[in-house]
Amino acid sequence: MDLLHNLALGFGVALTLQNVLYCFVGVSLGTLIGVLPGIGPVATIAMLLPATFSLPPVTALILLAGIYYGAQYGGSTTAILVNLPGESSSVVTCLDGYQMARQGRAGPALSIAALGSFFAGCVGTLILAAFAAPLSELALALGPIEKFSLMALGLVGAIALAQGSLLKAFGMILIGLLLGAVGADTQTGTMRYTFGIPELTDGIGFVVVAMGLFGFGEIITNLEKGEAREVFTSNVKGLFPRGDDLKAAWKAVLRGTGVGALLGILPGGGAVLGSFAAYALEKKIAKDPSRFGKGAIEGVAAPESANNAGAQTSFIPLLSLGIPSNAVMALMVGAMIIQGITPGPQVMTERPELVWGMIASMWIGNLLLVILNLPLVRIWILLLKVPYRLLFPTIIVLCCIGIYSLNSSATEVGMATLFGLLGYVFIKLGCEPAPLLLAMVLGPMMEDELRRGMTINRGDPTVFLRSPFSLAMLILAVGLLIGIVVPAVRRKREEAFQE
C-alpha cells in the first residue's frame, strides 16, 4: 500500500493553503493562455520562471505544472467558439466543436470537452502515480551507457512525432544539441562557442531561447497572419449535454483517454499528438464517418480527453527518470534546477514530498479546472474579446522583464532578440522549434553520459549493443524511425496531422 501512503503524503503537501492557492493561480493562468490564441504554455512558463525564485520548490512546480494542463482545458473554449486553436493541442477540436457552436450547441460542446478533460486528467494522474515510483527504481540502476541510449530514444521520439519532415526535425535536434554545448566544458573548463561573452560561460539560458523562439518568433508570425475572429457568445446556453450526447460521447472519452495517456508517455510525446491520434481513431471506427467535421460530439470528446491525459502522463518520464519528453517538460527541468534540485530518479526517494505533492496537486487542479471552465466559462469568453493588438505588446513587455529578471542581464535580453529572429526564420522555413528546445536541455546530459561511459569502457562503442537495456532502447529507436519511414505508416501520420 505504498501508493496510498504516498498519495496521502502528497495530499498533505498539496492541500496546504499556499499550495492550493498557487495551484489555483497556475490553472487559472493556464486556462487564460489556453483561451487566448497566440500564446502557449512554453512562453508562459518561461515568462513565469523568474517569479518562482522566491517560492518553495514544490509550490513553484505546482504552479508551473498547472499552467500546462490548464492550457489544455482553455484551448477547447477558443476552438469551439472561435474556430481558432487556443492551443496547438486543440487544433482538431475546431473541426467539430465549431460546427456544434454554429448549430447552437456550443454549451454541450463546451461541457463535454470540460468533463472529458476532467475524466482524462484524473485517469492520467492515477497512471502517473502508479508508474512514477516503479520506473524511478528501475532508472536508479542505469549506468551512463544506458542513460545515453534512453535519451537518444527520447530525441528519436521527438523527431518521429514532430510535424513535417523527419530530416528537418533531425536538423533541429542537432542545432539544439549544439546550443546545449555552448559554455564552459564541464570536464575541462574549456570555453566553447562563448566568443568572449561572459554571459555565455554558463551556457545559453534556455529561458532566453524559449522566449525568443516561442514568444517573439510567434508574435511576429501571428502579426503577419492578421486576426479574424468571430465569437459565438450569444449561443452559449444550456451548458449541460443531452442524454444522447452523453451516450455518444462517453465511449469516445474513454478511447481518447487511453490513446492520449499512451502517447503522452512516449518520449517526444505530450498533449498535441494524442489529440490528433484520438480524432483519427474516432473517425476510423465511427459507423458513419461523414458526420465528422459537421458537428459530431465524439470529435470534441475524444481529442479533448486525449490532450489532457497526454499532458498528465508526459510528466512520467520527467518525474521518474529525470528526462524531459517535450519542450514544456524541458522548462520544468529548468525550474527544478533553478530551485536547486537535480532532476533524476533520485528525486523520488530523496524528495518524495515534492513528487507526490505535485501529483496530488494535479488532481486538485483538474477539479478546479472543471469549476473554472464550466460555470465560469462566460468570463473566459469575455477575455476572448481582448484584441491581439493589445495583447501582444503586453506579452513582449512581460517577456522582456522575465528574461531580464533571471540574471539582471541586458545582454540576455539582446540574445533573446536574436533568437526571436531565428524563431521567425524557423517558422518560415517549416522547421518546428520544439525539438530544438528539448535537445538543448538533453544535450549537456547526453554529452556527459557519453564521455563518462566511453571512459569507463575504454572507448569501445560496441558497449551500446552489449548492454541489454541500451540495446533495447536503440532497437526501439531504430524501430520507431523505420516505422515512420515505411510508406504506409508515413501516409497515416501525414493524414493525422492534416486533419
Binding site: 523568474p50 536538423g171 542545432i175 517573439f216 493589445l390 522547421c431
Partner: protein
C-alpha cells in the same frame, strides 16, 4: 541592354537541342536527354535571373529561387512557348522551404565545425571538449546537404510571403528594452517597448497606444517592483 538580347537569343535557341533529343530514344539517349534538359533548365534560369536584373524587376527573391528549383527543368519547354517566358517561369518557381532550411543547417553546422577547430578532440576513450560539438556539427552539415539537395530536386512547399514591419518592430522593441533597462530604468524601458511593439501592428491608434502604455507601465511597476520586489533600476540615473 545588348546582353539582354543575347540572353533572349540563348533562351530562344534552346528548343533546337530539345527537338534533337526528342526523337525516339533508348535508355542511353534518355539519360543524355535528362542531362541536357537540366543544362537547358539551368541556362534558362540563369538567363531569367539576368533578365530580372535588366528589367529592374524588383523580385530578387524569385530570381534566386529560380536557380534553386528543379521545376525550372521540367517547365522550361512549356514556358518557352509562352509569350512572356520569364514571367511564366517566375510564377511556376517554388521558393522551396527545404532548400533554404538546408542552407541554414549547412551554415550553422559549418560555423559549429569551424569554431570547434581549436577545441581538443581527444580520443574515443578520453573525449576532449571538441569531440561532441565536432560530431554534431558535422552531422548537421550532412543533414543540411541532404535537405538542401531535396529542396533542390523536389518541388516542396513554398515559403509564405513575409512582412518587414512586424519582424523589424517586434525585434526592435526587444532590443530597445535591452539597451535602455540599465541606464534609463524599468519605467522608461517599458514605455519605449510598448510604443515600439504596438507600432508593429499596422492598425495603430494613438489614444489606444497612450492608454496601453500607461496601463502596462503602471502594472509592471506595481507587480514586479512593489509586489515581487525584484531588484530593478526603476528610474533613470541622472548622472
Amino acid at each position: 541592354m545588348s546582353l539582354c538580347v543575347l540572353v533572349d537569343a540563348v533562351i530562344a535557341d534552346a528548343p533546337i537541342a530539345d527537338v534533337w533529343l526528342r526523337r525516339p530514344c533508348k535508355a542511353l539517349r534518355a539519360k543524355v536527354r535528362i542531362v541536357a534538359n537540366a543544362a537547358i533548365g539551368w541556362a534558362a534560369a540563369a538567363a531569367t535571373t539576368y533578365r530580372c536584373r535588366c528589367a529592374d524587376i524588383p523580385r530578387w527573391g524569385d530570381a534566386f529561387d529560380l536557380l534553386a528549383s528543379r521545376s525550372v527543368w521540367k517547365n522550361t519547354r512549356a514556358s518557352r512557348n509562352e509569350q512572356n517566358g520569364e514571367a511564366a517561369l517566375a510564377v511556376r518557381i517554388k521558393s522551396s522551404k527545404d532548400f533554404y532550411a538546408g542552407l541554414m543547417y549547412i551554415a550553422i553546422g559549418g560555423l559549429a565545425v569551424f569554431f570547434a577547430r581549436d577545441y581538443s578532440i581527444g580520443s574515443t576513450s578520453r573525449m576532449g571538449p571538441g569531440y561532441f560539438p565536432l560530431l554534431i556539427g558535422g552531422l548537421l552539415l550532412l543533414v543540411g546537404l541532404v535537405v538542401a539537395a531535396r529542396g533542390f530536386t523536389l518541388t516542396t512547399e513554398r515559403i509564405d510571403r513575409w512582412q518587414l514591419r512586424p519582424l523589424l518592430l517586434v525585434l526592435f522593441s526587444v532590443a530597445v528594452f535591452a539597451l535602455t533597462i540599465e541606464r534609463l530604468g524599468l519605467a522608461v524601458a517599458v514605455m519605449l517597448v510598448t510604443v515600439a511593439g504596438y507600432m508593429a501592428n499596422p492598425k495603430a491608434r494613438l489614444l489606444e497606444l497612450i492608454i496601453l502604455t500607461a496601463v502596462l507601465t503602471a502594472v509592471s511597476l506595481g507587480v514586479f517592483v512593489y509586489a515581487l520586489k525584484l531588484p530593478f533600476n526603476v528610474w533613470p540615473h541622472l548622472r
